[in-house]
Symmetry: C2
Subunit: 404 residues, 2 copies
């Protein structure tokens, strides 16, 4: 096989030199650095004979190589990063796809191949993740972007227009799905599992569903010295008990549950909290288990409120259902990895949007210490080489028409 | 008896009209409103024959009435309030003392009597509570006031000088203790106990000791989606478990324990907290029990940290030992109240400072709903009248030389 993982790593290091640095990656979408990253990618793609490059209505970049058949295999990820991000998040999958495309061009593929660099996977500037891939998947509502501003008060509509993206026209990117028979993505795990199991690569079975909510407990603020324990309505304790219930339900159901935020009122060391707001994020790969976790957390919050004589109300923030990848492609990914070990992704990826309409699989490379979204993000070269190799062999099998 | 509780209530209402309003009391120490409250008190005191008024080096106001004996009974509290405070906190005790002084002047007391209006009991502007009474008790260190500023950046030294108080000279107020044989204070409870037991007044046995600290848990921030429960070091859960342990230890030891503040890092709903800081306030009337509570909370924090693979460190913020009032005076206060029901104060009072050197007792009036430090603070007139009457009878017995 002529795919050379070391060439991919060299491309990633060049990208890091030009758009990263001591503070980490600076490829935030809709910025000059992101454009510079894209330009580097274009330069790489222009060296491949027979590739046609275009940007769609949502700002996604597509590089198409015609095959003997019109049916098309999409390979991709995203070049954009969070501020002070890592060198591999997203970029690994795009540069690996470029190398597979180069290799396919050298022998003339059976199926057509298209590389896609999705725009704004991170949502780092305007808070809307998966922007480009959701446009392709048909789940982007331009109305929901109305009024979104960045930290400097710049409007999303104005900024995207500077990058030739008309927000109202973005859903037309759906046309890019035409002819796609598979979408394959290589990504770092952004978690500690492969690193702790010393695995250089693994197939991904799907993405977990998410229930994100805020529980508000209302009790009675009171003097910490003069209010006997029996006469308190301590909202902070109701929140603390609920946080422990979230941990317990996640462990018992094999999902994850996190309380990443809490706010107390009045928030004074000498006052019993009268109000507590607890942010809760629940994830599970099985819809029924996720629904059960949510119900148990709601019941636990209710019981915690009653036992501390508080009222509880719930603000539901966001949800997405679990998404399962294509069983045939996942099986092929396991074969390519030479291991039955596969894991579900707790983080979302462009692949989750694509999986709504197209058979999808992903391959994960390990993240050292599970660290991502930070300049310390890293993966040892030998693991990267193996993961790129696994991904390339999977992609070439699908491109050959052997799978799906 | 010629003490008229209704006159005290009328004085309090006049004070409230002049220095309160819809937003609550505005008698914050070292402000014009506080001066206006003092001027109202002076006007009231000047009507009493034979009373000499002076302000000491710490800004406390003393109104002295000579008796047949040089030994002196001090009656007092504080006129200063928190911002948007209640009409009774502090003012009740000062106005009741003025009425007793008026009555004593009418018959010529056995012992000398002195009313004291302590300066800055609340510490609302510069964060140093019990300023005036600690100067009299000899526990005020001018060095510890160095650099204290109010919310507008005004220095404590500059502001107090505008009220003729030289911070360095304030400890000379210790001289005012000379000749004191008792200090008696009437105050609202600022807690819910008397209200819930439907008692109009009760003797106070002392003030609880306080241990105030901050526990810092350091784990590892991580992605809420990609980090399995078994591989987390969740500092927020360690803090939550510790908060519940604080509640449990307070209940089991008959004290109070409060976690009024918590701060999570990074404080993002999709991130496992890597750092959690929990503010803890423990109180008990028995020194041994308070020490035991502190040890158990420390052990619980250590165990919670270990079970979530975090490190814990402690910042000790403040402590004061439990202070017991004079048993003879407390017994007399119970007799005056006509009830053996007495309670310890969970809040601090000027009486706690005075009790270091002088026999002390306090009488509590109920606080409706336990609310204080708020404009809703209130006590029904009939309960106020009873509590003022109880206090006056106690004071007159001590002034007569019958007790201590």
């Amino acid at each position: 096989m002529a795919v050379d993982p070391r060439r991919v790593i060299a491309d990633l290091r060049e990208l890091d030199e030009k758009t990263g640095g001591p503070g980490g990656a600076r490829r935030v979408c809709w910025t000059d650095e992101w454009r510079a990253a894209r330009e580097l990618l274009r330069k790489r793609l222009r060296k491949i004979d027979g590739v046609q490059i275009e940007e769609d209505e949502a700002g996604n970049l597509w590089a198409r190589l015609g095959g003997r058949r019109p049916e098309t295999v999409a390979l991709g990820s995203h070049l954009d990063s969070v501020p002070n991000g890592g060198w591999l998040d997203g970029a690994l999958g795009v540069m690996a796809a470029a190398e597979v495309l180069r290799d396919a061009a050298s022998f003339g593929p059976e199926r057509s191949v298209v590389l896609v660099d999705f725009a704004d996977e991170e949502g780092a500037r305007f808070g809307r993740s998966l922007l480009g891939s959701s446009a392709v998947a048909g789940t982007l509502d331009p109305g929901a972007l109305e009024g979104l501003k960045d930290a400097d008060g710049m409007d999303i509509r104005t900024v995207l227009a500077e990058h030739d993206v008309d927000v109202d026209a973005a859903p037309r990117a759906e046309r890019m799905r035409e002819g796609l028979v598979a979408y394959l993505e290589l990504h770092i795990e952004q978690g500690p599992v492969l690193d702790s199991e010393d695995l250089p690569a693994a197939a991904v079975t799907g993405t977990a569903g998410v229930e994100r909510l805020r529980m508000r407990f209302a009790g009675q603020a009171a003097h910490a010295g003069t209010t006997p324990m029996d006469l308190r309505s301590d909202a902070g304790l109701a929140a603390a008990a609920t946080a422990l219930a979230v941990e317990d339900v996640a462990r018992r159901h094999g999902g994850v549950g996190t309380c990443g935020t809490v706010r107390l009122e009045p928030g004074v060391i000498t006052a019993v909290p009268g109000v507590a707001e607890l942010g809760i994020d629940l994830r599970h790969t099985q819809a029924e288990s996720l629904a059960a976790m949510l119900e148990i957390v709601r019941a636990a919050a209710g019981a915690a409120a009653v036992s501390r004589r508080c009222k509880v109300s719930e603000e539901h923030i966001w949800r997405i259902e679990p998404i399962e990848f294509d069983t045939r492609l996942v099986a092929a990914a396991k074969e390519a990895a030479g291991s039955d070990r596969a894991l579900a992704s707790g983080a979302l990826h462009d692949a989750a949007e694509m999986a709504r309409h197209v058979p999808v699989a992903m391959v994960f490379a390990p993240s050292t210490g599970g660290i991502s979204h930070a300049r310390e993000e890293d993966t040892p070269d030998d693991a990267l080489e193996t993961a790129i190799d696994v991904y390339a062999r999977l992609a070439l099998r699908v491109i050959s028409g052997e799978v799906v």
